[in-house]
Amino acid sequence: MANGAWKIARGRGNAQLPLVVVVALALILVLLGMSKAQSGMFDQVRAHVTDFLAPTLEWARGPIHGFNRWMGSIGEIFSVYEQNLKLKEENARLRQWRNAEIVLEGRVRHYQALLKAVPDSKLNAVLARVIGRSSKPFLQTLILNAGTRHNAQPGQAVIDASGMIGRIYISGQRTSWVILLTDLNSRIPVTIAPGNVQAILTGDNTRMPMLEQLARTATVKAGDQVVSSGDGGLLPQGLPVGTVVSDGKGGWRVALLADASQSQDVEILNFAEPPEQLPPDAQLPVEAAGFKPMPPPPASSAQPPQTQPGAATSSRPSAPNPATAANAQAAATPALKPVAPPAQAPVPAPTSPAPESDDGISADQ
């Protein structure tokens, strides 16, 4: 360039802040940022700036997205036929898996009802649109058009149709910043199936984040499924994350299911683990509710003739109120009914009422 052609001023201002002081201030800022003491102030400024820019970003998103799609589709023109065949094959395979999934889901519901398993937490979701994305060397983020007005809060998981892509770390009123799983600052607890191995998924700004803090005795192999573990209560349990791949150096990485660079519409999971509460006495078996078990009734006259064999062995509570007796009978009933064999699935209806908590979470969810 023509730097040499410009006049170079030799004078320096008298009121300058000395360079050493500026470097020292910057160093203090870095240390404060590391201690997270001042990050909140920075985050607030960022949230305000993004809220201010949100309409512009939404306006600009359409043409940019269209341009990117157009650019991306140029290379696909020549492979449309092969892609079509692959998609048909994949579609047929997915239909088979869908049928199998329906059968298995029904079976799991049935077993949960039989075991009176603690129900999974119910998740509310906010649908949001990606209005901005930045891929810096030390920061990989998405900006969504949902903020605190839409009940999007820092810490909530963000997923797309394929799996988890990250979690919110700044929420403005109308926008949110998502830290991606690949980001240098991202660390989430995960479970590796089928061995139920616990690990930490650590981003390092590459496409495949690392698996760290694996137990020495843990057995992991390529192709294992990775889901969120829910440890710490920050993220829901069981969100699909990716599959294990070897990094070639003795370590393990995760090929993510979701491609955040292609995500356009995402879900923000409003995960707040409800406190586990005991079911009311009326829904417990009589012994658990603190009542004495009934002695077996005399076989002579009390038994109605149409009662099926075996039903007479159920404890008829000397219940002080009829509701408890009815519930006790209902609770005892499943153990007396034969379990439908797996081949008879799809969905055997649970024979006992699913325990339902105050917030509407029931066992069949």
């Binding site: 360039m1 023509a2 730097n3 040499g4 052609a5 410009w6 006049k7 170079i8 001023a9 004078g11 320096r12 201002g13 300058q16 802040l17 360079l19 500026v22 470097v23 201030l25 910057a26 160093l27 203090i28 800022l29 870095v30 240390l31 404060l32 940022g33 590391m34 001042q38 990050s39 920075f42 400024v45 960022r46 700036v49 993004t50 820019l53 970003l57 600009a60 998103r61 940019i64 990117n68 991306g72 901005g132 994305r133 930045s134 891929s135 810096k136 060397p137 030390f138 920061l139 983020t141 700044i170 910043w177 240098l184 600052n185 390092d204 700004n205 590459t206 955040a260 660079s261 292609q262």
Partner: protein, 178 residues
Amino acid sequence: MALADRTGVSTALRVFVRQLPLLSGIFCAFLANIPISIAGGALPPPLLALVPVYFWCLVRPDLMTPAAAFGIGLAEDVLCGGSPGVWTLSFALTYAVVARSRDSFAGLSGLGAVLGFSVAALVACVSAYTIMALSHWNLPSPGPSVSELAMTVLFYIPTAMAIGALHHRLIGPLRSDA
């Protein structure tokens, strides 16, 4: 009265023009951190804010002071969404290197000027990488930093031309008036 008005306007204009390097740096930081990627996030945005720091540190160091470089780095930190202070310290260190070797950098022209800026950008990127590595106690992948360095050097020529035009039209006359 008219003379006083004219003097007042002239003073206000002079104050504004003197802040132009700082304002253009902040504007460049804003421009580079608009979260829209034409490449679909495949390429990192360039460090546009470094160009005014480098340019005016060589040409008018009385306008691009260390405090102005600090402010531009702070703006970059706030707008990029990363850890606070990383780019502030990087810009301050780059400013220190460029200011110390000002005579060497200022004499460059043509491809040499691009190489000179490349050295400054390298200092900034290496500084940021080192700060992040130390703060996380982990070596991040250097690939994205190299990509950012390449993009910054690639965008230097058009940005420097725009800043040069700004300098000639506004800041240059200010200097001759003084």
